[in-house]
Symmetry: C2
Subunit: 442 residues, 2 copies
């Protein structure tokens, strides 16, 4: 590594083996399969750039010396998105974290800015992020757009890949003379959700939503079907402005710690909700129509030591269960449009408590649909894939969380083609996060 060290002179480097191992991991260990595959993988050197120019310096060195190059945001991904499969250099973006500007309806951030910091700053001007992952407190803006897909807010604002969800990305290419490329419009797809395989995202411009005061609510139901129909009807009620609509089948709520007494009644399926202030009565009336009861209602607030409702939802649901029971893993699935509720109910009846239904309601392609992060009692790979096959008979498709391969997440073909074509120019030596894009490897 002498030539590399020389080329990186003046930069902040980390090469202690313990730190290298620690900082080369994300939350892939939710998956027993990924755990086997990725445990022990680590970068050979971590660089902590403080300016885009330093990212350019690293990219040039890696291109010249043919060293693999990965990027680390908050390391909150669940699929080993940032785990270096072939060692090399890992850029830790923690210091590239400035908010460049916030104006009415838009903000621009360096990739390493934490979502929490970005959101808080935006709120000070009356704005907020349209959507964020349940890892809002740890994740970075860049990590979210490179490794995420949707989140808290998607019930109204849709997916990250929808036109308008990201306004611009600035990427550094991995060439001997790296270029800075500003992507806008449809070109954003070249680097969005590419796990950093097509360029190093250094700046992100996001649309901001006006900041609502949000109310957190939990609705509880005896009957799972009623809970599922309520969650769908709630998302379809355009008069209620929502940020969260998450359905959890009993006994999932049994794993949740830290909510108010009585919020999660024994044996009840629950729907966790964030609604803009003023919508409380509308939610309550709709819950009553579905024989449900409101068991929690409180203003949303961010405070150290206080767990917001969204930290029980999305990928945090599995985490909360894993804190209590290590024999748990999860699936991630996409539902058939229009018949998603029927499929959800059928899957709940098919597996009972072995596959605990957990669905996140969201807008997808203009429809109300849900995706599911089912929590599964893990008894072996064979049974896990058998469950997947049975779900498929209900029209429920896997978006495989047990794979670190980009294309296994169900990327649409046009977007995968676009990324492959862009990678030929932006990473001619195939050094960026190697092994993740199967089309490149093939």
């Amino acid at each position: 590594m002498t030539a590399l060290h020389a080329a990186l002179a003046g930069l902040e480097l980390v090469d202690h083996p313990v730190l290298l191992r620690q900082r080369s991991r994300d939350f892939y260990w939710y998956s027993p399969i990924l755990k086997r595959q990725l445990d022990g993988k680590a970068a050979d050197l971590i660089v902590v750039p403080r300016a885009v120019e330093e990212v350019v310096q690293v990219a040039a060195a890696c291109a010249r010396l043919r060293v693999p190059l990965g990027v680390r945001g908050g390391a909150t991904g669940n699929y080993g998105q940032m785990v270096p499969l072939q060692g090399g250099v890992l850029l830790d973006m923690a210091r590239l974290d400035r908010t460049l500007w916030i104006e009415r309806g838009r903000g621009r951030f360096e990739a390493g800015a934490r979502l929490e910091a970005a959101d808080t700053l935006a709120q000070q001007s009356g704005w907020e992020l349209r959507m964020f992952p349940s890892t809002r407190r740890q994740a970075t803006v860049g990590g979210y757009v490179c490794g995420g897909a949707a989140g808290v807010g998607s019930v109204r604002y849709g997916q990250l890949r929808d036109a308008g969800s990201v306004l611009a990305l600035k990427v550094v290419t991995c060439e001997e003379t790296p270029r800075l490329i500003e992507l806008r419009g449809a070109d954003i797809g070249k680097a969005l959700h590419a796990y950093g395989t097509t360029g190093i995202v250094v700046e992100v411009e996001l649309p901001l939503a006006p900041a609502y005061p949000w109310i957190e609510m939990v609705a509880a139901f005896e009957d799972f079907g009623a809970a599922a129909r309520f969650a769908q009807a709630l998302a379809e009620t355009d008069g209620l402005f929502l940020k969260l609509d998450s359905l959890m089948a009993w006994p999932l709520p049994r794993y949740f710690r830290g909510l108010e007494e009585g919020a999660l009644p024994e044996g009840r399926h629950v729907v966790m909700i964030m609604v803009a202030v003023g919508g409380e009565m509308g939610v309550m009336a709709l819950a009553a129509e579905h024989d449900g009861a409101i068991t929690l209602q409180r203003p949303y607030r961010e405070e150290r030591g206080h767990t917001p409702l969204y930290e029980y939802t999305w990928n945090h649901t599995t985490l909360q269960a894993l804190k209590v029971d290590k024999d748990i893993t999860y699936l991630q699935t996409i539902f058939p449009p229009e018949s998603n509720v029927a499929a959800l109910i059928a899957s709940h009846e098919m597996f009972g408590e072995e596959v605990m239904a957990h669905a996140e309601f969201q807008r997808r392609l203009g429809r109300t649909n849900c995706s599911s992060l089912q929590v599964v009692r893990y008894t072996g790979d064979e049974r896990l894939w058998e469950i997947v096959r049975q779900l498929e008979t209900l029209g429920i498709k896997l978006s495989n969380p047990h794979s670190y391969i980009l294309e296994d997440k169900g990327a649409r073909v046009p977007s995968a083609d676009l990324q492959l074509a862009f990678k030929r120019q932006s990473d001619p030596h195939g050094l960026l996060n190697p092994g993740k894009m199967s089309r490149w490897t093939a």
Copy 2:
């Protein structure tokens, strides 16, 4: 009327015959059929209350003396909603126009407050009305919730009748001893869109949306099908926060005056758009995908002498055409969910320029759909109903704008039942806007 005058002593009264006729009219004359039926109908006396107590005084007097009692807001309705069919007293709400309070996400207004004033005040606190009719500059808050259904904003926030779209209504009953009743939750349906037949709405509490900076855009298309598919796809793009998505077939744009040179190219079908700032590139890319071009892009602003884009849309479309051509009328129709675009294209092909397609895209029951206010070259009633029958073969249903009967607007049965039951208590003598609710008359 001596006893009535005595009972109304101290109130501001209007009884000059010319003023009575002028102020008893709305925009029903869009319809040649309503024009024949309603021309000449007028109140016998107009009262201009300055406080809710004065409304109570009038209601008590009318109940005791069995005098019909109607309410006038901005008189911008199109179906004779406020036209007194049987004379009597008309309450002109123009002086009951205070904004009671505005707080984060909510505002409460006296019924006679103009939407423009309410919206402007809300904007000063960073909020705005979620939706308004194209008559925003003239219409009142009370008139909108009593006689309106949707409007500019419905493409994201749905219909007025959706849970959460109205937070509370305060109504005065028409009894010898009138009661003040606060309606919340599902009870709002008792007075919402009831044309004032079930109570006199004196206060309205509305949810407010955070105020976005909006951009007005026009996209123009050679092919009508492409324009229709674009308008639907635009509404379905959850990443673009929209306020308006209105499709007008050529030659409708020929009637529009006052837009910038080149905004409405000869022979082109257009889509009029309001999108939150930052979404311009997303709209542009989507238009290009559909072989369309952006022909206007400017910030939305309200200024005397400047016509905002929304004043070419919704019910204003017909008005703009009527300013140029008196032989025009219109229809109002609802489209089949899921196949609305196909039905729209088929209807355009069926009639050509005789029935100029005009569709307002909106959320309805959680789906993207459109309603249409087709502009029709009127050649007689018989042909008009023949057109309606032919539209019905395409699954396009009439929401009859040529009738002043409440139920002809396609009220859902549960809501009509609720209103009838409430009217038995709130208007036992059947004096409120008599002749409009056919279930009561029957």
